[in-house]
């Protein structure tokens, strides 16, 4: 709507297109579309939330890979950061939902958005796994160095890809 480069209704199964048509005409959606400051404000909160998650996960992932922050135990980093990631993820989902309600086609019919969601689901499972192993055995990620490095690398790549896909929603 604001700066999509092409028709946002163009890509996706008919049922989703029909859903987007219906949703974009509801009073709440029209409100979000027409009140000028809602979408930029909600996007700003979304970006600030991503900042929080990205910074802490980047630090944790580089620690898992053994590249940075070796002064801290992996276990204490997991315990400090991961619970907050889940809480902030709720804010990300809430702000994301508002953006989707405001401009359904821009997201739901966009392959960059769908890819981003698949990656968010994947990295959430990985993070859950990291947390779970750590809870059972606080020394797990210190003793299984190679697994830690692989998990850290995949997680970091996913987060970078998620932010990239998020920005590219506006361009594809």
């Amino acid at each position: 709507m604001y700066y999509s480069r092409r028709n946002p209704w163009a890509g996706g199964p008919r049922v989703i297109q029909a859903f987007c048509d219906w949703l974009s005409n509801t009073p709440v959606s029209l409100k979000i579309q027409t009140v000028l400051w809602i979408i930029p404000a909600v996007q700003t909160i979304h970006i600030l939330s991503v900042s929080f998650v990205m910074a802490s996960m980047a630090m944790l992932d580089l620690r898992l890979m053994g590249i940075a922050g070796k002064r801290q135990a992996v276990s204490s980093m997991v315990e400090r950061f991961v619970p907050w990631v889940w809480r902030v993820l709720l804010i990300l989902i809430a702000t994301g939902a508002i953006l989707i309600v405001g401009e359904p086609g821009r997201e739901l019919l966009n392959w960059a958005f769908r890819t981003k969601m698949a990656m968010v689901a994947t990295v959430s499972l990985i993070t859950l796994f990291v947390q779970n192993r750590n809870t059972r055995d606080a020394a797990f990620w210190e003793t299984h160095r190679i697994a830690a490095a692989m998990v850290g690398a995949v997680s970091l790549l996913l987060w970078v890809a998620i932010v990239t896909a998020g920005r590219w929603i506006a361009y594809v």
């Binding site: 404000a41 700003t44 900042s51 929080f52 998650v53 990205m54 910074a55 940075a68 002064r71």
Partner: protein, 163 residues
């Protein structure tokens, strides 16, 4: 030479032209800019929250500082380089853009706040390094920094809607 003349010259360079004409260069550089900003804001927020006594209270201020600073510095440099390239592609338009000007002003204020903290407040750090409750000057520095960086992100987003 006025700033406007400088912007016009910048826009006319080959690099600026290449970014303007390409379909993928601007989005790619913008993505790097966003990734860098995300890391700057996220890492600074960690330190600010420690200064405010709201997070990592079991760790000394210096420890958090040492963990966070490399991230903040490196990502800030990347953000500035990427931002400079983005700016050059439509320098005169950005220069006249209100939220852009506001963003630059806010960055300047954030820089001043940081400099003040570095040069003055941090001097007495040995006395409150391990305290969960930091002195008022430290709390102010952390609080002001958080607010300013939130404004920077908001202005940055606003540019995209008005350019």
């Amino acid at each position: 030479m006025s700033i406007l003349r400088l912007c016009t010259w910048l826009e006319g360079t080959q690099v600026a032209g290449a970014i303007r004409e390409s379909t993928w260069l601007f989005p790619t550089i913008e993505t790097i800019h966003v990734l860098s900003i995300v890391l700057v804001v996220g890492s600074i927020a960690m330190f600010d929250l420690r200064l405010l006594g709201l997070a990592s209270r079991d760790r000394s201020v210096s420890e958090v500082y040492d963990d966070v600073m490399p991230w903040t510095c490196v990502s800030f440099v990347c953000a500035v380089i990427a931002g400079g390239l983005l700016f050059s592609s439509s320098a005169t338009k950005y220069y006249a853009n209100v939220p852009f000007r506001l963003k630059m002003l806010t960055l300047l204020l954030a820089g001043i706040n940081t400099a003040y903290f570095e040069l003055w407040t941090r001097r007495g750090i040995a006395a409150w390094d391990r305290a969960a409750d930091t002195p008022r000057a430290a709390k102010l520095a952390g609080g002001i920094s958080l607010v300013l960086w939130i404004v920077v992100v908001a202005c940055g987003r606003w540019i995209g809607f008005t350019k």
